[in-house]
């Protein structure tokens, strides 16, 4: 069974600084997807970034980038130039890919990020 672990329940960062959120996962699959979702106080689930395991290049979306270490089963999210609007709970998630993909997302426990002015 796959598991996703986020070891940082809460983090804070000053506005305009950089912060990194950690995520580790466990799987015997070779083909899968990893995600970071953002859940602001409005509780809407927003996809921040997605990584395909077969791609060695780390995904980037504007100020958001990941450090994907497949051998170490690590998938951290870096937020650069933090903004007040980044304040939210962030979830790391895993999904099998290929023919076994049912669309089942497995989430970590979440990390609450507070951006301070």
């Amino acid at each position: 069974a796959q598991t996703v672990t986020q070891s940082q329940p809460e983090m804070s960062v000053q506005e305009a600084e950089t912060v990194t959120l950690s995520c580790t996962y466990d799987t015997s699959e070779n083909n899968y997807y990893l995600f970071w979702y953002k859940q602001p106080p409005s509780r809407q689930m927003i996809l921040v970034i997605r990584q395909e395991a077969y791609k060695q290049q780390n995904a980037t979306e504007n100020r958001f980038s990941v450090n994907f270490q497949k051998a170490a089963k690590s998938f951290s999210l870096k937020i650069s130039d933090s903004q007040l609007g980044d304040t939210a709970m962030y979830f790391c998630a895993f999904m099998r890919a290929g023919s076994g993909n049912t669309g089942k997302l497995i989430f970590g426990q979440g990390t609450t990020l507070q951006v301070k002015p």
Binding site: Q44, M45, N101, T102, G103, K104, L105
Partner: protein, 114 residues
């Protein structure tokens, strides 16, 4: 022109009651999901339907029954509500072409059982 909508957004009810949460998507997707977010914010999938066929059925009490009248709708009916059912329930959908890895979430339904 909301993509994935849920009704109601808030639901307060007494233990033992039966309630339904409705989900509709206007994206032309063929797969829909129900997730539960508990009081500790932990998110877990409950069910998934593809073209009205059940494809994911996690370990969920029999009191929970999903119903998909058509591809655009996936409703969640809960019988004999218990205190532990209090949570936020999210509906999501995905498209066969863009893949199930791209899921669009609804705004959530906060259920409070008293």
């Amino acid at each position: 022109d909301t993509a994935v909508s849920q009704t109601p957004k808030y639901l307060v009810t007494q233990m033992g009651n039966d309630k339904s949460i409705k989900c509709e998507q206007n994206l032309g997707h063929d797969t829909m999901y129900w997730y539960k977010q508990d009081s500790k914010k932990f998110l877990k999938i409950m069910f998934s339907y593809n073209n009205k066929e059940l494809i994911i059925n996690e370990t969920v009490p029999n009191r929970f029954s999903p119903k998909s009248p058509d591809k655009a709708h996936l409703n969640l009916h809960i019988n004999s509500l218990e205190l532990g059912d209090s949570a936020v329930y999210f509906c999501a959908s995905s498209h066969p072409t863009s893949g199930r890895e791209t899921q669009y979430f609804g705004p959530g339904t906060r259920l409070l059982v008293l």
